[in-house]
């Protein structure tokens, strides 16, 4: 897997990975705000967000139609759509692209669901390696508590109920997240994850994130010729800690 820099793209891709509740979405949002304020060409893309594929994913999840194989394929379709229509052209145009989850999410989740690892990796082999992948590592209990303390209603697939690990959604979610964490840790060195201590304070983590990004990427090369007005912040009340798959259902 080559990085976008190694493939001579003018743009750079930064991805964040981690369990639900690891705080990665908050960190990448704050990174985006900073880069925008610096007048840098930046684009943010979220896992499972392609408009086109959304209605199929949503139907599949609501009606529990998905098997490990179709779950994997429909997320690969979503990723390919964003990759080909947004990420690649933006990277050609010299943007810094920020991805909340990248192919590693599929490598971890789909394998936990029982798909053969070589098959999943092969399907995503059209995707290049991020120039920087930040893995937000929390203690399993910390991320579980962040998600579960509000006693949210966990959806069927997000709790891993399709794996029949337990008839209790909370227990199922715990076991499922634990297995995903094992998969992440097993691939960490293979894909050059930079492991972030996600038990630290939000502000401390963000200082580290910004430092890392400016060390790895020569940011001044990515400035707009004429700065754009700063886009609005998150809408008031929008939750930053959320369970990923909620967004599609």
């Amino acid at each position: 897997m080559k990085t976008f820099a190694e493939l001579n793209f003018p743009g750079r891709l930064v991805a964040v990975e981690g369990l639900d509740g690891s705080g990665k979405s908050t960190q990448i949002y704050l990174l985006k705000r900073w880069l925008e304020a610096e007048g840098i060409k930046v684009y943010f893309s979220e896992w499972n967000s392609s408009e086109l594929v959304k209605s199929a994913t949503s139907k599949g999840k609501k009606r529990e139609l998905l098997t490990p194989t179709t779950f994997s394929l429909i997320h690969a379709t979503d990723f390919a759509d964003r990759y080909e229509r947004h990420l690649l052209p933006l990277l050609r145009a010299g943007y810094i692209v920020l991805c909340d989850r990248y192919v590693f999410t599929a490598f971890a989740r789909d394998v936990v669901r029982g798909c053969p690892p070589e098959w999943v990796r092969g399907n995503y082999s059209f995707a290049a390696q991020p120039d920087l992948t930040l893995f937000f590592k929390t203690d399993l209990e910390v991320s579980l508590n962040r998600i579960l303390e509000g006693r949210p209603k966990l959806k069927f697939f997000e709790a891993g109920m399709d794996l029949r690990l337990s008839s209790d959604p909370y227990e199922s979610f715990r076991v499922f997240q634990g297995r995903i964490l094992e998969q992440y840790l097993a691939m960490s060195s293979e894909f050059n994850f930079v492991v972030m201590d996600a038990n630290l304070h939000v502000e401390k983590q963000q200082v580290l994130v910004r430092k890392l990004v400016s060390e790895r990427i020569e940011l001044k090369k990515f400035k707009r010729r004429s700065p754009l007005p700063l886009p609005p912040a998150h809408p008031v009340g929008e939750k930053l800690v959320e369970v990923e798959e909620d967004t599609a259902v």
Partner: protein
């Protein structure tokens, strides 16, 4: 073929990694694939095979592309707008195939049915290969598919296909003409070029997947006779 003879157990295999949790020895039915372009007579031949098989006491199920509950309507919409890039379209079709494979084909094979598949992974692979997708990537992707008991490719000269399509609908289909490829702005030319390219991919796939190429330039009846003879032999063997 002896009426009502049950299919015999066979050695089935997946083309690649397969589907997690599926036990191949349970798939006791038969999987028969009919491939070919629009206008090659696929649907007519399948309808005739169904009549013949059912008359002889075999239970049948029919499947085809873009018929899944999961994504068929979304796929239809995406094609109308022609907004998908090639990897995305390839994966979307694979999702549609996988949904039908797991929900229709595999259960029917477990129940001992004869599954008649109106096109299979070969058309999907050929379309993507003509669009420049990597063959190894496609083979991995479609490694979920079980190897059929027989594949018949109804081969018709592109010039004859044009005549049949125009006689039937007085127009040529955008996708069957490969208009997205920009081979020619003239639909007639594009159709001939695209179908020629697809056929040469099928010939290259034939070596790997060992399917029967049936000369379908002939009359419907002679094609039916050939298919019955070959399928009859398949059902009686062992």
């Amino acid at each position: 073929m002896s009426p009502g003879s049950p299919p015999q157990p066979n050695c089935r295999r997946f083309y690649g990694h397969g589907i997690p949790g599926v036990r191949l020895e349970e798939l006791t039915g038969r999987l028969i694939v009919v491939e070919g372009a629009d206008g090659s007579g696929r649907s007519t031949q399948i309808a005739r095979l169904v009549d013949w098989l059912e008359t002889n006491g075999h239970a049948t199920v029919q499947v085809g592309l873009k018929r899944s509950t999961l994504v068929s309507s979304e796929l239809e919409k995406a094609q109308e707008g022609n907004i998908l890039s090639r990897t995305t379209l390839g994966l979307f079709y694979a999702t549609d195939f996988a949904d039908q494979l797991e929900n229709i084909i595999l259960p029917a094979l477990r129940a001992g049915f004869i599954v008649l598949s109106d096109r299979y992974i070969y058309t999907l692979m050929a379309r993507d290969m003509v669009r420049g997708m990597d063959e190894a990537w496609l083979k991995n992707l479609y490694g979920i598919a079980p190897e059929p008991d027989a594949v018949f490719y109804l081969s018709v000269e592109p010039e004859e296909l044009v005549q049949r399509n125009l006689a039937k609908k007085a127009t040529l289909d955008y996708w069957e003409s490969g208009m997205d490829l920009g081979l020619s702005r003239d639909m007639f030319d594009s159709f001939i070029k695209y179908q020629t390219a697809i056929q040469s991919v099928f010939q290259s796939l034939q070596k790997t997947y060992n399917f029967n190429i049936v000369d379908a330039n002939r009359s419907m009846d002679s094609v039916t006779r050939e298919l019955r003879k070959k399928i009859g032999a398949l059902l009686n063997e062992k």
